[in-house]
């Protein structure tokens, strides 16, 4: 007799990162890397915090399922979504074999607003450093996403998807410091960032600050994509 094949239900779970910076509209905020969590209603793990996600539907693609679940459960507007890893240990879900295809998403500060009329009235942003123990194997999924984000942010310009479209060099530095848990020398950081040739000085300056308002930059994605085809590598 041939050995029995596994039959599985398929879930998608999303690690949505945002960065809280002391921007002009929240001048007193601490700089922090945040993750979007939901409180589970039904068993198993009722009442525990979990990554937003749910079951893939018949006929639905994996990415479409991740996007649908994020809209339903949180309403956040993503700027970046990539498949992270598939978790499939046979006993990871007490209900039976459930594969989790996990995704990593990035969200700009202006899009942190949660839609009030969603499934998960209890979706909320939590500092990554203060995340409680999560349902299922979601702690492992979160740790995997954090490693991916830290590994990738220096070699691919995904950090800009966590900032407002126009940003100061100080915000950019603080973003990298928060993600990598390192402090950078201001002059070296600026020199390195500007040397990439991928930042455009918009000519505008930050308003609403007392004196010497800093310049606002934008990331030149078109130029990055053109350069990439000729073997150029982003590096910070």
């Amino acid at each position: 007799m041939a050995p029995e094949r596994a039959t599985a239900q398929v879930a998608v779970d999303c690690v949505v990162f945002g960065v809280q910076l002391a921007l002009p509209d929240h001048p007193d905020a601490d700089d922090r890397l945040m993750v979007l969590l939901v409180e589970r209603g039904p068993a198993p793990f009722a009442g525990r915090m979990a990554l937003p996600g749910g079951f893939v539907l018949a006929g639905e693609g994996l990415k479409a399922a991740a996007e649908r679940e994020l809209v339903e459960e949180t309403g956040v507007k993503l700027t970046y979504l990539e498949q992270l890893y598939t978790f499939g240990a046979p006993a990871r879900d007490p209900r039976g074999r459930v594969l989790s295809v996990a995704w990593m998403a990035l969200v700009r500060p202006s899009a942190h607003q949660l839609a009030p009329d969603t499934d998960a009235a209890d979706a909320r942003w939590v500092p990554v450093a203060e995340a409680p123990p999560l349902a299922f194997d979601h702690d492992t999924i979160l740790a995997t996403a954090l490693e991916r984000l830290r590994g990738k942010v220096r070699w691919q310009p995904i950090g800009f998807d966590l900032l407002p479209p126009r940003f100061t060099l100080t915000w950019l530095q603080r973003l990298y410091e928060v993600i990598l848990e390192q402090t950078f020398d201001k002059r070296n950081f600026r020199r390195k960032v500007l040397k990439t040739g991928l930042l455009v000085d918009t000519g505008d300056r930050l308003t609403g600050v007392p004196h010497k308002p800093p310049a606002l930059y934008a990331f030149d994605r078109d130029r990055y994509e053109r350069l990439q085809t000729s073997g150029f590598s982003f590096e910070l």
Copy 2:
């Protein structure tokens, strides 16, 4: 009525890369990046070449399934295995919903030997550049693996898993040239490679070559792992 959840069978498919270099035991070989393919017996796609793989069994983990399928179908000894991506388009398999959790594996030249008594008597190494159209969505899986390999080899020392444990700097350069489809300047390449501080001169020299036998180096994985914990990045 709640929408119907997808139920899927789960497959693992493996992109196994090897590099063919003109090593002393095959001095006339061309330098080429190779991929391990199998000829399918049963329908669908009977007779077409495909990536080695198969169904995950009840109670079996995803990585264990990939390792088991590679042993059964090819017998190659892996030096590196990482999860690549999960392919789950609803119609990717004509038999019903089948998710493919794809893996990328690397194999040293000495392990290219295929086990003769396996399921797939027709497993064979094919130059990536000459791969025929593959079964299912395996062309896409192969392209995804190639992109991952090319993206990763410059920032992580996975290239050494494609070389013999002791290698000349020329072999290392040819490995990078084959993977990245670029030519490197010999002096610059050596300088950069030695500057990583991760190559150990074994003190031995290649034997069986007419004159000026080149030095044999080894990759210092212990040192790399120690440095990594302090934020060091490999770069070539």
